[in-house]
Symmetry: C2
Subunit: 254 residues, 2 copies
């Protein structure tokens, strides 16, 4: 396999970097090729905007998706984004490695998504979800949090982790065509002891090896939706996010 | 009232700016004071990191929350963040105005949150949720999306809008002490006609006036949670996010 890791943490000695380094080591040992984009080290600019484009479809009104699609058609995608596209189109598996900040990605990674998951390459009017630009590839989230795991249950104060990751898993990765694999979360990373750090890394090693054969999450396909993009009346929702009864089972421990 | 609008869109002629401009006009007419941070116009740097800090609690290991807390205690918060703190501490009502990009905030606004909602000012070990740094203030999300509203229902392909906004409403605004008011969403903004734009702005005008007296969303208080931050066994979850039965009712239109 060819594996592309995008890492977004400002401290090279961080646990996030330890996870990324472990992935390079473990996956390399198993004969996979691995490339890494370390966004802080690269000084990646996350602010999507007019500065990225030589020309625009409408010079008087900047509309980001149109500008991206226009640049893609003209082969004028800015160099830093084109380099990320090359890695995405090269890889079989994408790993997003980041600390959960404010229940989502740090801005540098959110802006990598805004800029790199671009119209004309990652998706278009004709390419989304199962027909997205990166279809046939797999992706997985690897994350640290700063709170213990009870916080991220259905009745937790932070909210259910799979809800918190749905915008990334369904709305971003799946939207761009990836098959989405199980995520790995190391909770309360600033508060746990060295022994727990070691255990997390052991668990992560097993998780990484498991990604070779992991089953992707189920998502409904276009045919299950009506013209307004709601599940058709005859279709029973099979994701926890779209079916509160599945959540109820989860909440009751069934 | 004193109202602080944070607007995050790269095009000054955008519908997001039209909404922000309307808010300035309507709220001004009603005798309120309004200030605006237009993040693209300000060139706000959203990348939280070491560059923000003159000194660090540990020069060998950059940990963002500790660095923020240390700077706050020493009165050494970087000028652009301190300016935003001043506006947040001045205001009675915060409005976040942005286009939903990838089911969340554009990176420039996500990074405004990462940097400005900082440890020592917005929250701390002793200040969070109902005791958060901005307690006593109110906040509301104003947003555009690029898809029609069916997409954002419980059985919609994008996922239920209140789920998508929970990381902002509960995880960010409430965490920092705000009372969170109803949100306003203008869906499918690139696809709808001029007449719909006009209707959205009329609806938004009524929404803005309604914010003067709107009831905040309910959130459970600290006393409802156990030591692991799960709702206590005797407490019935009263938010849709934490109680799938409420979602089931919503999904069935009850």
């Amino acid at each position: 396999m060819k594996i592309f890791i995008v890492c977004a943490h400002p401290e090279p000695k961080s646990f996030n970097h330890a996870m990324a380094n472990l992935a390079v080591e473990v996956l390399g040992e198993r004969g996979h090729e691995v490339r890494v984009s370390d966004l802080y080290a690269m000084g990646f600019n996350p602010v999507g905007g007019r500065w990225e484009f030589k020309t625009l479809p409408d010079l008087d009104y900047f509309e980001y998706m149109s500008a991206q699609g226009f640049a893609a058609r003209r082969g004028e995608i800015t160099a830093d984004v084109a380099a990320e596209h090359e890695k995405l189109l090269w890889c079989d598996l994408l790993i997003l490695q980041f600390p959960m900040w404010w229940f989502g990605m740090p801005a540098i990674l959110k802006g990598w998504v805004d800029r790199v998951m671009s119209n004309g390459t990652a998706y278009s009017g004709e390419m989304s979800y199962e027909t997205g630009g990166f279809r046939g590839r797999r992706a997985s989230v690897s994350m640290t949090t700063s709170v213990a795991s009870g916080y991220y249950e259905v009745g937790g104060r932070g909210g259910y982790m799979a809800h918190l990751l749905w915008p990334i898993n369904n709305g971003t990765l799946r939207y761009c065509g990836f098959d989405v694999l199980p995520f790995f979360v190391a909770d309360g990373i600033g508060d746990v002891d060295e022994e727990t750090h070691r255990r997390y890394l052991e668990d992560y090693r097993a998780h990484l090896i498991g990604l070779e054969t992991a089953e992707p999450f189920f998502f409904h396909m276009a045919e299950d939706y009506d013209d307004e993009l709601r599940l058709k009346p005859g279709v029973t929702a099979q994701t926890e996010m779209q079916n509160p009864e599945l959540l109820l089972k989860k909440a009751s421990g069934a």
